[in-house]
């Protein structure tokens, strides 16, 4: 069983502080949805509201069409995986997984059978008799998932469960989580401040900032077509060039910046004379020592300040008249220019986006 989660004008206030501000969103049944945002953006509060530990100040929450007002966390069709995992240290792995079934009054044999089946799902079939403190970080993670799945939730809520793991394990667990979600087919709502996690696992992502939902979309949509300056700078790296719109026509705008007069897409329909920021992804900036073959309107003269070799890519830090710019070269982009050399940074207008500057959140 899987269920749709619908938030309508959800607001949560703690005294004078507004943690979640007028969020409306529908998560489809069986979807892997991530809330992405910096710490303090209200994403954890939102998750705790969906799980029932926090009552919304206003707005409604429906899970599977049912209004959740007044229904406690123990009676909701959700299961939460805590950031600290919150496994019961005095119980064995099997007892942990079977706890929710014990609460529901299942017989000892039925509990055991179901717990073992779930441990097989998370590839811990032979670890059932162990104590929690005998497990590694990744194994604990999987116990927490099995424990949550045991109660057959329609929606699984995950509160940054990978943040305590080391990098390799985190990347492994991303794939694992995605695979488990496909296998069980229920709705996953995932909270993270790590854009890599959100981008790799999610069907859709909601970017949050200051309690508000800034933009909802697929990872690709957020990365390629950010709708706000915050999304453009928070999801992935971006070179930001602030200035004033000089000209706007046919979905493109020319911005007068400290780097020169540059052209980019204008999805927000910005008018001439308004303050704007032009964003270009580092991998869209091509540092060339010769005259670039393309895009005569978007060229920035700069000097290579430093190179950082990252394995897959090379970061080229450039000092231009208006400030520092970052270009990223892949292995197919040829040799990076030498530090100290003069380059011309070029990009097409399609690869740049002009957005209104971020308001203070």
């Amino acid at each position: 069983m899987t269920a749709e989660v619908a938030l309508e004008a959800m607001t949560v206030r703690f005294g004078p502080f507004t943690a979640v501000d007028d969020v409306s969103l529908t998560v489809a049944p069986g979807e892997f949805f991530s809330f992405l945002g910096p710490s303090g953006c209200g994403k954890t509060t939102l998750l705790r509201t969906i799980s029932g530990f926090v009552e919304p100040t206003s707005g409604t929450l429906r899970i599977g069409g049912r209004d959740m007002r007044g229904i406690g966390p123990n009676r909701r069709p959700t299961a939460l995986i805590f950031q600290s995992l919150a496994l019961f240290p005095l119980m064995t792995v099997v007892e942990n997984v079977a706890y929710g079934l014990r609460v529901r009054g299942h017989s000892r044999a039925a509990r055991r059978a179901r717990a073992e089946a779930l441990l097989n799902v998370v590839a811990l079939g032979d670890q059932g008799g162990k104590r929690i403190d005998q497990l590694s970080g990744g194994q604990k993670q999987r116990v927490a998932i099995a424990r949550a799945l045991a109660v057959e939730p329609e929606v699984l809520l995950l509160d940054e469960p990978l943040s305590a793991l080391d990098l390799k394990l985190r990347q492994h667990m991303r794939n694992e989580l995605r695979a488990i979600q496909r296998r069980v087919g229920i709705t996953f709502i995932y909270i993270t401040h790590d854009q890599g996690e959100a981008l790799t696992m999610s069907d859709r992502i909601g970017v949050m900032r200051g309690g508000r939902l800034e933009q909802v979309g697929t990872g690709r949509a957020l990365y390629d077509s950010p709708e706000t300056a915050f999304v453009a700078s928070f999801v992935g790296e971006a070179n930001a060039m602030p200035g004033v719109v000089r000209d706007a026509a046919d979905g493109y705008a020319v911005v007068e910046t400290a780097f020169g007069s540059l052209q980019g897409r204008n999805p927000a329909g910005m008018k001439r004379g308004s303050q704007a920021v032009l964003f270009v992804r580092p991998e869209r900036l091509l540092p060339l020592s010769t005259t670039p073959p393309c895009c005569p309107q978007n060229r920035v003269r700069a000097r290579v300040a430093d190179l950082a070799y990252e394995g897959q890519v090379t970061h080229v830090m450039c000092a231009a008249e208006g400030g520092r710019l970052l270009a990223v070269l892949g292995p197919r982009d040829g040799e990076p220019p030498a530090p100290g050399s003069d380059v011309s940074l070029a990009f097409t207008a399609r690869d740049a986006v002009v957005l209104p500057p971020a308001t203070q959140a």
């Binding site: 799980s51 029932g52 530990f53 406690g72 966390p73 123990n74 009676r75 959700t78 299961a79 939460l80 805590f82 950031q83 600290s84 919150a86 496994l87 019961f88 240290p89 005095l90 706890y99 929710g100 014990r102 609460v103 529901r104 424990r147 949550a148 045991a150 109660v151």
Partner: protein
Amino acid sequence: MISVATGHRLLVALPFVLVALIWGWLAFERRLAALPPRAGFFRRNGWPVGIYLILAVALWLLGMVVLPQLFMVELSFRPKLPFNQLGGPRDVYTLENYRYFLFGSPTSTESWNTVHLRAFATTILSAIFIAGFNLLLCYPIAFYMAQGATGARLRLLLLLLIAPYWVNEILRAFAFRVIFASSGLLNTVLLGAGLIAAPIDFIGRDIALFSGLIYAYTLLMVFPLYNALDNVEAAQIEAARDLGAPWWHIHLFVVVPAAKAGIASGCTLVFMLATGALAAPLVLGGPSAMRFTPIVYDRFYQVFNWPQGAAYAFVLLVACLVVVVAGLRLLRLNLTDTAR
């Protein structure tokens, strides 16, 4: 039969033998567990501090706790004699004090000493009851303090809990007498409100005594509990709730097992002190209720039979230890857990 003089020599040697045995056993266990050798005690602390620590602990434990207790135990096996016959031919080890406790006579074993035995049983059983009742009373308070209360409210609650202890113990006992007497506060209020027709004999029914004792030890129960419950991760309670557990299930199967050591610690403290309570039974005890501690007190200071008093005190001590150890076994804990 060993003579009293030999007995005294054994007595003084015994603590040192015990210390040596315990030290040797610990060293043996370390070797068994293959723990790496630790830096020497003196190297870690320095000579002056090391010597001070050892002397202070030895003086305190051996000189002020172990030796006096051992002398009391030894005394309990000797007859009551006039001063000039001490060390004389009649001063031999005997079981007559224990015989008196059981049979009410130093020599005969015809009839049971029902008065003292009953008082003994009452004392132990009521102390168990008081510890249990105190646990039920203090658990919600401690849980609220540990998991619910924040900053200012926690400090206020602590103050409210501690404030009564600024009042002297005897005064507190008398205050309870004022409340529970047949023409006392409670009866006056109940009579005035028309809830009862005649005054209730709170003191005769031991209600005053139990209330006084339970009240006296709340703090000793609250603090170990608070300490233990404070260490229970709040997310675990939430996780249990999220998995569908009703509140009683969470407490019974998640919180209490995690706080088991604190519960045992609090219960041990309250039980031990309740068996040894002297002032409260004297002030609040009904005419029919005999407690064992006042009886022990009387052996020493009314009957002037110190050996008998020592025997009584030793019986009480052993009984308490048996109850505590049995209780810990029941909870699958050992003694060191209660000190955590």
